[in-house]
Each structure stands twice: as C-alpha cells, then as structure tokens.
Symmetry: C2
Subunit: 107 residues, 2 copies
Amino acid sequence: MANLDAAFSALADPTRRAILARLALGEATVMELVEPFELTQPAISRHLKVLEGAGLIVRRAEGTKRPCRLAPTAVAEIDQWLGMLRRALETNYDRLDGVLAAMKPEK
Amino acid sequence: MANLDAAFSALADPTRRAILARLALGEATVMELVEPFELTQPAISRHLKVLEGAGLIVRRAEGTKRPCRLAPTAVAEIDQWLGMLRRALETNYDRLDGVLAAMKPEK
DNA sequence: CGGTTATATAACATATACGTTATATAACCG
DNA sequence: CGGTTATATAACGTATATGTTATATAACCG
C-alpha cells in the first residue's frame, strides 16, 4: 500500500487539510485557494501537487485556470485501512467488556 | 485540531502502520515489535513514542516490559475529520448524478 | 550483589518537507 | 502583437524525520 504513505502524509499538514475542507464546499482555482491563507501562490501550488499526487484531489484545465476538486479514491483507501484498526478496537473492547463482566460477580 | 497533525503524521510511516497492524492482533512488548522488522530496537522505540504521542497506542508497565496496545481515541478523531470529506464527496457525487440525469433526456 | 534482559535516550548523518523569491510558461484580452 | 493574469518550476535556506551506534536506566534472577 505505497499510496497510503502519500495519502496520510498529505493529510498530516494543516494547510492541506484546510484546502481539502475548502474543496469540500466545491471546486476552486489556485488563486481562490491562495486567498484565505497567508502563504504565497507557489506554496499553495506545491500543496496542491502533493494532494494530487496522493489522489486526494483532481484537476482540470479551463483556459488559464486549473480548478481543483476532491477525488474519492484516496479517502476510500484510507477508510479501508482504518477499518482494520476500527475492527480491532471493537474486538479488544468487547474482550475488555468480557473481562469486566467476569470480574463483576466476584466483587 | 492540532492532534490530527500528529495522528496523520504518525500514520504516514509504513513501519508505524505495520506496528499498528500487529497491535490489532493484540498487545505486544517492544522486543516483540522489533523482531519482525529489519530495524534496531531504538528505531522501534522511537516509532512507539510517536504513536503514543499521537494517541494511537497506550502502554503499561509490567516489570521491565512495556506492552503496547491500540488506543481508540485518535482513530475516532480521524474518522470524524474524514467524515467531512466523505459527506462532501457523497454530495458532489449526487450533484454529478443530477447533472447526468438532466443531460440524459436531451440526448 | 553482579550479570542479563528490556527499554529509553543521546549524538550524529542524511534525507525530505516546507517556506521564500525569482523566473518560466501559457492562455487571455485589447 | 504586447501586456496582464493564472499557474508552475527552480534555487535556496532551514527545520524535522528517520535511521544508526553507543550508552543510560531499571527491573529481574541466580
């Protein structure tokens, strides 16, 4: 799962998560994404490249503009991997419940 | 959500994801976690420190040993944040469906 | 107590990440 | 065509991550 590296790594940066949150509201161009941040345009462009590389966003060409929007695949992959942890946590929790239930009568 | 930085950052490393996958099977000591990897014990100890700092694992003391197990909180936080993306993707997908549905009759 | 085992920390090298400014590319518009 | 706008890339500095080896701490065991 080499792609999980890129996806989680992309999500580790707060600016990139903010960009994704903005894109959750709908498509946006690079300059529209630059505006709310106190960062330069090249910085945002590189963040977008990282997000695109991680499969978290897709882009199209529209004249000079390159609008970005959310891509579904990476989120699905992440969910799938986290599912493993979720299931394990549920299992362990059940086990703990079992232990507690077994202890109760003795007290 | 400063903690998401740490959580996603921790998950970005394949060794740490492998450690979590191992812990999904149940508690393990540091040396038990060192064994399957081609890494030194200090390297694993530091990965564990990162995972603990991110709230992904918890540890107890048992004599000389310090067994690790999965912690639930960080996964829940991650799920919550990803939920925002999931909902947005569903919404955008619906919107696309709507567009396609509106186009079909015209063809 | 003294040696062994389990784990953590320090010190260090190297690679990667993230920001900046300067510049390139490429479409648009008068 | 020439200027403006939108975006990408290059070059660079600095911080952080990841690994290593060497060493510290601390519990256990004979």
